[in-house]
Symmetry: C2
Subunit: 245 residues, 2 copies
């Protein structure tokens, strides 16, 4: 297996971090060895998976920290130095090579590595897209997010033309889906029509438990595994793992 997935979308607030944290938890629950790499200077994934961490980021020599409650899950947290390292690279491809190199030095490749990206198409997310095998794009069912989908797909295509090793599209995940809103139904239908093979059949519903779990530094698995949001992330994890074999 040993798949490296970048979870990316330059549109902000679409559920990138929520997807990384919860996919990682359910994949580890199923027995896969999982590594989360936090490449977002905001450090939201780190605040859940390694809340007391003080230290460098991956580029500064960070190691893998265990995550309480899940034996096969580890995290490389963000450090205050991440932004400084971003300035060191002349482009994303160079940063991507170093990212891959550092990950290979850290450990034998786990079954699944998930990289949480910041909301941009700058050097850090670019590095993740160069280093990754696949990219998973969370998108909320709203107009601005749909507009942004074209941008990241065009960016991805441009990258693949220059660097055949760059990530392939690994899936589009509909998030914060509210069945009762016409807007959400329309956007979801439009995205499924344009990308029939790429969109996960499970959509993540809007569920306040998903927004509350981080304030307890927990994934939804440990916070409240029976909520609609939890069951949806369990189903998406199964879809993802089935697709990787």
């Amino acid at each position: 297996m040993a798949t490296l997935i970048a979870v990316a979308n330059q549109k902000g607030g679409v559920g990138k971090t929520t997807t990384v944290v919860n996919l990682a938890a359910y994949a580890a629950l199923k027995g896969a060895s999982v590594l989360v790499v936090d490449l977002d200077p905001q450090g939201n994934a780190s605040s859940v998976l390694a809340p007391d961490y003080q230290g460098p980021s991956l580029f500064g020599g960070a190691g893998i920290l265990p995550v309480a409650g899940l034996d096969t899950l580890g995290v490389v947290p963000v450090g205050d130095d991440l932004i400084d390292h971003e300035h060191r690279f002349s482009d994303s491809a160079e940063a991507g090579r170093e990212l891959r190199h550092r990950l290979n030095e850290l450990c034998d490749p786990p079954d699944l590595t998930l990289i949480d990206c910041p909301p941009s198409l700058a050097i850090l997310p670019g590095a993740a897209l160069h280093a990754a095998d696949r990219v998973l794009i969370p998108i909320q069912c709203e107009y601005y997010a749909m507009e942004g989908l074209g941008q990241i797909l065009a960016y991805l295509q441009g990258m693949q033309e220059e660097d055949p090793e760059a990530a392939q599209l690994g899936g589009i995940l509909l998030t914060m889906y509210d069945e009762s809103r016409t807007l959400d139904r329309q956007v979801a239908a439009e995205v499924r029509a344009h990308f029939p093979k790429e969109v996960f059949s499970t959509a993540i519903p809007r569920d306040v438990a998903l927004a509350a779990a981080p304030s307890h530094a927990q994934s939804i698995l440990h916070f409240d595994p029976l909520t609609p949001g939890a069951l949806a992330y369990l189903a998406v994890t199964k879809e993802l793992l089935d697709g990787l074999e």
Copy 2:
């Protein structure tokens, strides 16, 4: 009056663009001369206020476009060249000086200039924070957004120590507030307790009309002015304009 306000928050999806577009519309409705500057390469504000624009960004020589339906509102849209210009500057202060300079060349200062920032603390939002008189920080009532508030306030403080001309905190706006959720009430209470003077008394409720209006390239004023979201932006605009006199 002639106030330049940067609407910024490195946390993604908190309502920066929605706030810029709708504050601008209601301020223009009240007769103020208003300019919106889109500094986000995503171009979400431009897709509502100048949907058919093809051309350079402010740094590439863009002019002011009128906005249909509001005589005293103009917009400087985003162009494909924006990301290239970002690489030209060695730091935010230099970019901020050029931003101020270009705006001064474009026109006599309008009563109100609103800059829509991308979700980061990189050069472009940094330029806006250096050029602006005040910064308005939208924040959704959720955990990650609250965590991020400390980061942007620390960034702002660091800037003010180096550059006394840099923006002062002009207000914190609670967005997507859902009265029925405990999480929202807790976060709102915590933010109001920490920043009693800075938080606008009006909170913007979660209202699907605000998410639907952009797909019609309209502000909420023209899309559906009687919805809770519209009435809240009207009230916030009044609070903002009263505070500027």
